[in-house]
Symmetry: D2
Subunit: 454 residues, 4 copies
């Protein structure tokens, strides 16, 4: 599929290694290998069989194209995997081959394999999150006092600092780290239930085997097998999509700042980066495009995982299958988006002059609320609002600075001195809690860091 | 909209009271009232103003149709609310009316209002979860040993117990209780940032005011305002949708069990319930229909919330708006589905005889794995599998009991005694860990109960 | 639900009348009435019965809250409707009441009712589409030569005309009119199949009755009943969502043009429109917010309708139910978005001066491609590209006009005269096919108009 | 990604060839080649250049991994394609290389390439649709009179014929053929607009070049370039998803019929097909699983395409990118689902005996409506309904045939003779219009066939 051309543009090579065909196969093989060792440890199968099986559980020895072909008839990937594994083992030790996949069912191998992949994938996400948080924190430090027009409804509202904008990003990222940790705790468990989730094939020893596999793979035991209860998988997906939503928000912010007419920040440039095939002057926000695309794609993938939860009886039909590509894609999009945003945030070219110029662009309108708040204690909120609203209309209509219109207003003159008015028109004096919020975000981040290192 | 006819069928009246127009309005008014009290306590506005404002913050005094009309021009509901509130206050105390909404922005009122609604809504969900968990636990106790055909890929697989099926339900529900608690911890926070999230309108006192509102409403403070960071709202939605997915799975199970040809369980009957307008014999799974419909609708609503996360700058355009109906609908669907499932699970008419009859339906095929496992230690897995597979084919083709075909097999006769074979063909002997898993699920549930009561 | 406060903000009152409880009920009653008339015409039921039934088929006589309550037990709205109708008829004519709903099933009444609603709803959409197309065509006429910066990847690219931008809108709208007409042709058909789609309850006369109802309601006959084949309903939804996607694109364009730093177009103003509760200077793009919200919500509703298509056997469980709110919501969003966009496009305040100023903002960079194409015949494309790319870099770095940098380039001087260069730097000379495309769009629109009037 | 293992299970190799990396690249190269030829024909570039360019437009000569890597910096695939193409051409003819991509923009190449892929992809879908329609028509012919329990709400309702069920399938498929043809007519158009959709780079000749490319590629001209109007692409996706919804419905039907307890139809068997890794007796509905998975995945992909429609200005950021994988996946799922269903429907193992047995399973309840309709003319509908409803309750409670209970009813005895009652209890006499509907569906199919062949 087109993936071949754009897989690197949207995704993350390291993540793709986790979920590609060999990675997926190896996940299942790690289960089979641990199963054999566990059963031999408990005396259910000969030690030599376990050894023989374990030695063959190497993805590189498998014929993956054949496996993909056989999956069409089998309806899953574990059946052809077991068949190939049996043949590989038999080639070394015929007896051992009789103990392959002993007492397990296809879904045990596939699901545990996926959980192992999820573990590795979450590690990759976590590492990227660390970098992005650090980049955001750095940006905040560098732009503590950089003035910027705060914008609401895509209109200039009030002055803020650029650090405050980044503080919002960081604060959200820290919450995603919490969510990732919580979801991980639930999803990182063994799947082992046998054909119908009873482990009947292993008689009285089923749970002992489960415990031994669990120890071997360092995967906690669930309360019971969860073949047709897919909330863990779906939650992993929703957690990633929530993160991608925030990354999309950051990319939206940056792409808006980067508009020609705004020009307040630029994605870090590099030769050949963001150019056009026709226009020599272009510098496109390439990273933002990829991240925004991820934010458009993730909700649909989540809808798939949620719809797929309605699975039938002990093991479902079709719903389970629908997960197989949706979850890896979400991981790839999340890691890919992080790979784009980390250097973008770290190397963002901030144009503080342009930020200041844009704050000044409206000739004082951006401080309309400040004036209103200055007058409100004297006039009451609504009256003050009305007075300033009218002054703004005059300023716009006559293209005059609001300071001038306000200054010429007799009623205002009776209430505020010229110095007081000047002060109200100083954007740097109207930043409220910006610094406090930046500090709170940094503290929250550091607290979360500590928590994670424990 | 059609909601008028089917709102009760899909939803929950108590939840609809939380999110209907008066409920939504009251949420905002609770914010305005707490804001005024906080500011008066801090000396920012006169105590009499706070009193006057608080007294008018009653949804029943508002003209809701006018509010809905004015929202079209305003683009939100807070602006016309503030306007009406100001008029109401002014009618009593002109001065007080000058301090309405002092220093706040529309989104502060709307978002905090929504958070207050979410708090009440989560309480409703929690109470229903308690009932459903209890019903599932009861069902497990009553059917500890009731045999049932375990089904995978919609085909009979192995015998299980009905308690085990319900254990899977309960175990998933317990995980959802954890998720609901975690999401609640994050979303249940104040929104208060003023026009651009700096609280500049309150000078140095912004955060003090926030703290005072927080104490008043018993809503924790966030790190900083989160106007355009909607992960909390979206997470609330994903958490509900994950729950709805599990409820849908339970409904799917019940509706499959209730099929005419299966007949193992029936939704509790009632006069006039589940009938048809044309067929006098019909008894339709009405509750399952409503729950399954919820499971079809929830993923799309979540996609909306996730897509809406990509909001612009300090306060977004359109994304914020898209949340306003999506989140209430998810709460209504979740509570409605719980309202359907609680009595369904509690009063489920289980037909144990029919369950047993269905286990016997295949004349032993359902125990094919048991025989295979009986032979495998002697023949090796693959050989045993092949032998039993062939015997199954013969049994199907000749319409004979598998016991008979297996019994007639000379190779088997040399390996297993007739008693041994009989035992392998006893479904009650092939339940593996079913009891253990049921006990584990019950323990897990009790542990979660205790945790919640702390 | 919150719908009560924001229903007018997002939706359309006329559309809400079509799909509200009385509208939905009346749709079913129109079916019942036509059914009785048809059956009496064919001698299957007494004429007096038909008269009695028809006279009672008036939504205003029904107890809608009771209907909504009874729907919870019935699982649909037709069963309680039939029950109330029977009582109403019986109060006048006991015998007639025995012929209510004769031979029909609930879904016949509900689905035909919905189709009747869809017919009325599509009329509302069509009327609004006419207005929006006309507004776009007018805008194009008024701004045939208004220069504007064409923007790609949210960066200035080349000059275009504002008419060309609007031509893209109009052209897409014309395609949506085609799609609406095609979908209408398929969905506007009778549903009448009896309990399992065989019309067995009417013996040999089933299809005659169907034909008579079809004539009465002026609803074409389908090939056969379509109780569990929902492609018509889902297609209606996808067609609306495709339209909403385009409306969202138009709203995105306008909201981007309306940014403080761009300032090229404003939503038409009105007293109290687009203001803020805190900032006196604000003028928010309220219509765009509502339309963009619709574009965020529609994809999820479509996902619901598509997921709901997988219905079981002759009439499904849950999937059918999921349609009941999703389709009306899509109609309401579409009509609401059109109601917002029609006056916005018709009254758009275009600031041609600002458009020109923004074209000039980059000091010539916007014409980089023009220069490249001027040099390419002489230097070859890649060399010309490289030369201009470098000149752009210099211009940006040194903050000089590109004209100056290019003019100072010796290589260029040897190839192009100063007049030639001047001409290349005239944006009005670099509009290519803009006029042609505008004319083509207008012609296409007129052709479509004619086609529709036939 | 996991695609490597399960691509064949879910998708279609022929379709994957259309959309894989070489296929995607070749689509763009076909555009570049036609562009060069068109421009040379119009005298804009030398004939030798066109020849040199055309000769190099062969995907197999490109370094695809390098292209994928460079796409990360470029943000699209056309820029690195143009670069490689330029190098390839230059190696043969330095002058010619100066005319590569003359006057075009990246998106012209990518979009036209995609349209060419869509054309080939729709051909593949059409061919598979032909086969599936034929298989359904055959099935109808073979089972014209095969009795089957019609099921509504997953409960037995009335007897139908198996042909009628298949007629519903066929009828829906015919509508999808109409939709595919209509969507094709709109999407199968050239994309050629240059950097901002004005073709300014080609001066006065832009539209002539477009016309020449259009003739060369046999792709009709659109009204104007459609870079940021993606309704055509999104409609292609919704049309495929609507089809997949119907395929999912067919698969749901088959999987329900195939349940162990129903046993009325089986997917065609083959050695190794549908087996289990643990249970020797299993025969899983593998094709249904894959088709149902497609039906779970398609709605989310459509949501992506619809969300992606909201693109900015003349060419969008992120939305365009999001289409690149979503549309190919929808094509692959559609073709893959068709590849699964064609042989399944063609080779479906129908068990008519079991169908009859299931009709008899309820001892007459399935004919409750027939009895009601027999009594209704004498008793009135509601009274007849009530009488039969009670008889059904007795029959269920006492486990007696309904015929017996009805026969013992004194009131009935006074109204219907024993022969009349017998006739009412004959399912073959209660099929209504089943035959008529089957014939109508076949006629409709043939009419559509003829239309297509024109």
């Amino acid at each position: 599929m087109a993936q071949g051309l754009v897989g690197l543009l949207f995704g993350c090579p390291a993540m793709q290694s986790v979920f590609d065909a060999p990675g997926t196969l190896q996940g299942m093989l790690d289960f089979e290998s641990a199963l054999a060792r566990a059963e031999s440890r408990l005396g259910l199968i000969p030690e030599s069989a376990a050894r023989g099986i374990s030695q063959s559980c190497k993805a590189e020895w498998f014929d993956i194209p054949a496996l993909a072909r056989d999956a069409v008839q089998a309806g899953n990937t574990a059946i052809p995997m077991v068949r190939q594994l049996t043949r590989l083992v038999a080639a070394q030790d015929a007896t051992a081959s009789g103990y392959v996949h002993w007492g397990a069912t296809s879904q045990d191998a596939q699901d545990t394999g996926v959980v192992l992949q999820i573990r590795a994938a979450l590690d990759l996400v976590d590492a990227r999150m660390d970098r992005l948080c650090e980049a955001a924190a750095d940006l905040m430090q560098r732009h503590r006092t950089t003035l910027l027009a705060g914008r609401t409804w895509m209109q200039q509202a009030l002055p803020i600092t650029f650090a405050l904008k980044a503080a919002g990003w960081l604060d959200a990222l820290v919450r995603h780290r919490e969510r990732l940790a919580e979801a991980r705790r639930r999803v990182q468990v063994l799947q082992f239930g046998g054909a119908a989730g009873t482990l009947a094939s292993l008689g009285e020893r089923g749970w002992d085997v489960a415990a031994a596999i669990s120890a071997d793979l360092e995967l906690p035991l669930p309360t019971l097998p969860w073949h047709s209860h897919r909330d863990r998988i779906a939650e992993t997906g929703t957690t990633l999509a929530l993160l991608i939503g925030t990354l999309g928000k950051i990319a939206r912010d940056i792409s808006l700042l980067m508009q020609t007419e705004v020009g307040e920040a630029l994605e870090p440039g590099a030769p050949g980066r963001g150019g056009s095939s026709s226009m020599p002057h272009k510098r496109n926000p390439v990273a933002c495009a990829a991240v925004l695309a991820a934010a458009v794609r993730a909700p649909g993938l989540v809808a798939t995982l949620l719809t797929a939860m309605v699975q039938e009886h002990e093991r479902g039909l079709g719903g389970w299958h629908a997960e197989w590509t949706a979850l890896p894609e979400l991981f790839d999009l999340a890691a890919g988006a992080l790979d784009h945003l980390c250097p973008t945030v770290a190397g963002l070219e901030v144009n503080a002059e342009r930020m200041q110029a844009n704050v000044d662009l409206t000739q004082g309108l951006i401080l309309a609320e400040a004036i209103k708040m200055g007058l409100a204690p004297k006039l009451g909120g609504p009256t003050a609002f009305g007075l300033v609203e009218q002054a703004c209309a005059v300023a716009v209509k006559e293209n005059r600075p609001l300071r001038e219109v306000i200054g010429a207003n007799a009623q205002v003159a009776g209430l505020l001195s010229s110095q007081e008015i000047d002060r109200l028109f100083d954007p740097a004096q109207y930043l409220g809690m910006s610094q406090v919020f930046v500090d709170r975000a940094l503290s929250g981040y550091k607290a979360n860091q500590k928590l994670r290192q424990r």
